[in-house]
Structure formats: structure tokens, C-alpha cells
Symmetry: C2
Subunit: 329 residues, 2 copies
DNA sequence: CTGAAAGCGCTAACAC
DNA sequence: GTGTTAGCGCTTTCAG
């Protein structure tokens, strides 16, 4: 099919292109019969407004960029779903960018985003990308951060206070006398795990103790599970906290294969869980982070920034709900 | 920061905008010293070419649309990763669209895609969207289909022959005398499951039998697991084939909680598996569909269509590798 | 209520 | 080599 432009429609309907523009934008100042004529022409020619040209003329693209770590979509998936659902409501399109481990190319992503002239960018990334944020800010992009708490003139954020979550949990366990608590390090979510650790440290400190049990999976192990199976031959704990359900599961599996009973001897808790948690044995107790809502709220805030609506809270905290399952007593 | 255009750069560098255009596009016909001057100006002003304007002028966006079912990203995730990795190599950006259950809005997605003037569209959807494909074709979009086998002038596809996979598996089991075989229906992947069924039917037919064991999870059950737990009180099979690992897992869990031992009494196989399969007990035997490759190859084919390269195979079959694990003998 | 014309930022002939 | 100019398809004053 030949490209059909607003001119063709104007010709067909015997009006000027200005009028066509008016009807496709639903401006009320068009007489009924000419509107009908234009609509007929549009229909007949199969005309679809060129969003690129509109973008140029209007200086906006009704598109936002979403940046996420490539890794596993298992837990970013819900975030994306939430974001897309809200984006759909407000008619925004999404350009998807993923950051790879090799930190090098993140500059390229920012470059691409700037050139693409999207209306805003939503970033869900473990570490705060300070330099990149600065670039984006320099070019006036409204930004919404997921998972990191911070805000400026054109940056808002949506997050869950993981530190508090762990603080409360650990405090409980300490008070029950179950003080042998460890946290699994996660190279892929360094920042998030740091928050977990801070929470634990604060809880221990308040009781006049020091928290220092980090289980780090050495790089040379091809999976946490393999390492942990060794680990539990000579170690055990009262409680282990992991970031992702997959890691917590590796803990539970490795422990029980070493005769350590979960949850009797060892309790396990994770922060983020996926639908697999429902099918897995033992089902893992978790904080049930509201991933979908993180995405949905982030996009909602973005639309507010874009439409210059009043934003009363630029740092939105979403709450978790500790959900005990089979991996805790 | 004020918007800086190619004019500003031209001014700053004391050249015409044509020259600036030449240097940002790396055309060799620019003298060294003027190129340097232009580059300095670009650097000084922080100029970034406006991709929208380029898109208008060049009639191409270096962007492709990706359509996937919203559902769980657990298994589409790998496809996306594969696609993005290749897209990155060829400098294409991705606009992400998800189809929701409510079939109504898929027309809207197509509409949006047409307006967005992307260079091509990759579709991974269970059912073949015939009408939508027709629309897209009418507007001359090159299309690559993932999971569905078909091709036309501007449609290519990348898929795995699930029917053959099941045919071969079922044939083996029949020959071992284990003929009580069932397939789990999956409302979310109707088309894929249809192929599985066809494979089983063909296998049974060849042996002069009829395949007719479909386990359908009634809509009123909130999860397969809940239904299956009932189901296995009064039923059992030699082999059950499920599409996703999550369903296969529900089968294994429900069965063993009814005293049916997996794999001794009941064997379970799934088609698609995710990383969770490595952590789950029993680990599920599967066909190990190469999801990442499906995405990567799809995008590669797309670039070929876009660059008018010769395409020797417009329907690319990727192979699976049956991988026995703990859920089969 | 409708049309004419300028402009959004860039590319690509075509001159010089 | 480099500049001039005419689009790419649409929106938006400003006249009429």
C-alpha cells in the first residue's frame, strides 16, 4: 500500500490539511458534515496518522523508556506488567532497554534514550546510576526510579523499605533467642542486599551485638546450590535471609540434603518471590514485595510528571506484607 | 538545557547544517579540520541528533515492535533477552507491546504499531492473529513470527516443531507399553497445546489406537494444583505431558501428595522450562525449547528482511533436545 | 468554521 | 569539500 498522508486525505475530502488535522485530533471546531466527509476519506484511504511526524511537530512522543536489568524476567516481569497496564490507560508506548552486566554499554543506552526523545524514563536497576541520571537530567527527562529512594526536581521514586523489613524480622528472631542469622550475598542485586544487611545490622546493634554473617557464593561456583551443598556440611544457622526466592530455594534444598530440616532446624526467608513459590516445596516465607504495584505506581507518577499534575509525594514507599509459609516455623 | 539542534552546531562551527549532518553520519567527504571543528561544537553544545527528525526524513525509525503475551515473563523472558541482544548489535530499539487476555485490545496494539512507523514487527503469540497480520501486511511491515510456522512475501517465522517432539516421545512410551498417556490443556497456550495433542494423536494412530486423554483444568479452580490434587485421588497415568514447567510441577506435587510416586508410578514431562526447573524437586524432564535462540534468530531474520539480505529459509525450525531429569525413569 | 503558511530537526540531491 | 534548498508528515497560529 502506498503511503497515505494527511494531504491525500485532504484532497480526497476536498478540505485543507488543517481541517484533517482537526478531526483526527478531535477538536470540536469542525462542522458535522465536513467532519463526516473527512472521516469517510480517512476510512477509504486507510489513513493512519504518522506518529513520527506528530512527534516532531509536537515535540513529544507519548513514549517512555523503561530500563531494566536483563537478567531474569521472573521478577521484573510483574513490574513490567504493572507499568504496561498503566501505560496503556494513558496511551503511552514503551521502549524497552536492558542493562547487561558489562557496565560499559549503559552509556550507550542513555545515549540512545536521549536521541529517541522519549517523554520520560523509568529506571529499575539495582544500583543507582548516578552519572547516567545526571546525563538524563541535563537533557530534561522526567525520571521515575523503581527500588531506589531519592528525588529531585525531575526525579521521583517508588520503592519498598527493605531495610525496615529485615530490621523488624531480625529483631523478632533475636528476641526469640534465634540469633544465628545469615544473609545471602547476591552479586546481581548488590544494592538491595546492602539494604537487607543494614537492616540486620541495625537490629543487632540495638541489642548490643554485631551482625556479621554474610554468605557469599564464590564466583567459581556455577550455582549457589552447588556451593551451599558444601557449605551446609559444616555450617548451619537459625535463619537465613535471601533476596530472591530462587536463592532461598537453593538454601532450603541444599540444607535438607545435608540433613538439616527446614524449618525445624533452619528457617529460610526471601524478599522477592515469583509465582514459582506457590509450587515449590517447601513454600518459602517471604516479604511479598508488590512488584506489579511498583511498576504501576511508577508509571502513574510518570504520567503525573508529564501532565504537570501536582505530586504530593515524590518518594513513594510501598509496603510489603510478611507472609509466613512452610520455610518458617 | 535548551534544545540544541543541528543549526546551533552549524552556527557554532561556522559551517552549514549539511556539513554537520555529514559528520554525524560519518560520511567521508568532510575535510579533517572542519570535521574536528564540528565535533568540537557538538561536544561543546552537548548536541544529540534527534532520532524523531531523522526518522521523518529517512522514513525509518531503526525501531522494531515486539508483541508478546503479557502473562508470565518467566518463559518469554529468555525470548526477549535473545531478541534484545541481537537488536543491540544491529542498533535497533524495541517497542514493547503486550497482548492481554481480553482479545479486544489487540486491534489497538496493531493500530499503535502502524502509527508508530516502526521498521518491522516481531510477534510471539500463541494463536496466529490472522486479521492483525493482514492489517500489518497491508501497511507493508516486515513481520517475524515466533512459535508459529508460516511465511509469505513479508512474513518469516522461527519455531520449534512441538508436534514432532511429542510424536517421538509418545511413540517411545507406547512401545515400552506405557500407553496411559495424558496431556494437560493450557488455556493460555491453546495453540501450542494443540500441537502437542496432534503429535500424540499421530503417534497413537500409527499404532492403531486413539489418543483422547486431555486433562482440562476447569475454569473455576484457582490453580491447576488445587484441581489436580482432587484429580489424582481417582486417576493416574503412565505419563503426563504439560506445556510449562509450572504445570508439570503442579502435576508432580499433586500426584505425590496423593501417594503416586514420580517417576516410578507416574512420569511427567514438560515442553518449556525455566531456570526454576533447576531448583525444583523433582527436576522435570523437558524438551528444553531454546527460547533465547528463538528470540535471537527472530531478530536476526528481521535484520535480514530490513537490509534486503538474501533469506534462504523463511521458516526456520529450531531443534529441541529432550532432556531427561528426575521426573522420568 | 476553514484555509494558508510557518515551523518541528534532519537528510539528500543539486549546485558551487 | 561545502552550502542551498526542497522535502519528510504533521500541528498551530493567524487570517479570512
Amino acid at each position: 500500500m502506498k503511503r497515505v498522508t494527511i494531504y491525500d486525505v485532504a484532497n480526497e475530502a476536498k478540505v485543507s490539511l488543517a481541517t484533517v488535522s482537526r478531526v483526527i485530533n478531535g477538536l470540536e471546531i469542525v462542522r458535522e458534515d465536513t467532519r463526516l466527509r473527512v472521516e469517510a476519506a480517512i476510512e477509504k484511504l486507510g489513513y493512519k496518522p504518522n506518529a513520527i511526524a506528530q512527534g516532531l511537530a509536537l515535540q513529544k512522543t507519548t513514549t517512555i523508556a523503561l530500563v531494566i536489568p536483563e537478567a531474569s524476567f521472573t521478577y521484573t516481569g510483574q513490574i513490567i506488567n504493572g507499568l504496561l497496564d498503566v501505560a496503556k490507560i494513558y496511551k503511552y508506548s514503551i521502549m524497552l532497554h536492558t542493562t547487561t552486566e558489562g557496565i560499559v554499554d549503559i552509556g550507550e543506552i542513555v545515549e540512545t534514550i536521549i536521541k529517541s526523545r522519549v517523554d520520560g524514563v523509568v529506571i529499575y536497576n539495582d544500583k543507582l546510576m548516578v552519572d547516567e541520571l545526571a546525563s538524563l537530567t541535563k537533557y530534561n527527562f522526567p525520571i521515575v526510579l523503581i527500588g531506589n529512594k531519592m528525588s529531585t526536581d525531575n526525579i521521583c521514586s517508588v520503592y519498598v523499605d527493605l531495610e525496615k523489613a529485615v530490621y523488624e524480622l531480625v529483631t523478632q528472631y533475636i528476641e526469640k533467642g534465634r540469633k544465628n542469622i545469615a544473609i545471602i550475598q547476591d552479586r546481581k542485586n548488590k544494592f538491595a542486599v546492602e539494604q537487607l544487611i543494614k537492616g540486620a545490622q541495625r537490629a543487632f546493634e540495638r541489642k548490643g551485638m554485631v551482625f556479621d554473617k554474610f554468605i557469599e557464593i564464590p564466583r567459581e561456583y556455577r550455582s549457589s546450590y552447588v556451593f551451599l551443598k558444601d557449605y551446609f556440611r559444616t555450617n548451619t544457622h537459625d535463619l537465613i535471609i535471601a533476596h530472591r526466592d530462587s536463592q532461598a530455594l537453593a538454601v532450603a534444598n541444599a540444607a535438607s540434603e545435608n540433613g538439616i530440616k527446614v524449618p525445624q532446624d533452619l528457617e529460610v526467608v526471601c524478599v522477592i518471590d515469583t509465582k514459582y513459590n506457590a509450587m515449590v516445596r517447601p513454600q518459602l516465607s517471604s516479604f511479598a514485595i508488590p512488584s506489579y504495584d511498583l511498576g504501576a505506581v511508577a508509571m502513574r507518577v510518570m504520567t503525573k510528571m508529564l501532565h504537570m499534575e501536582e505530586i504530593d509525594d515524590r518518594e513513594i514507599e510501598l509496603s510489603y506484607l510478611f507472609t509466613p509459609r512452610q520455610s518458617t516455623k
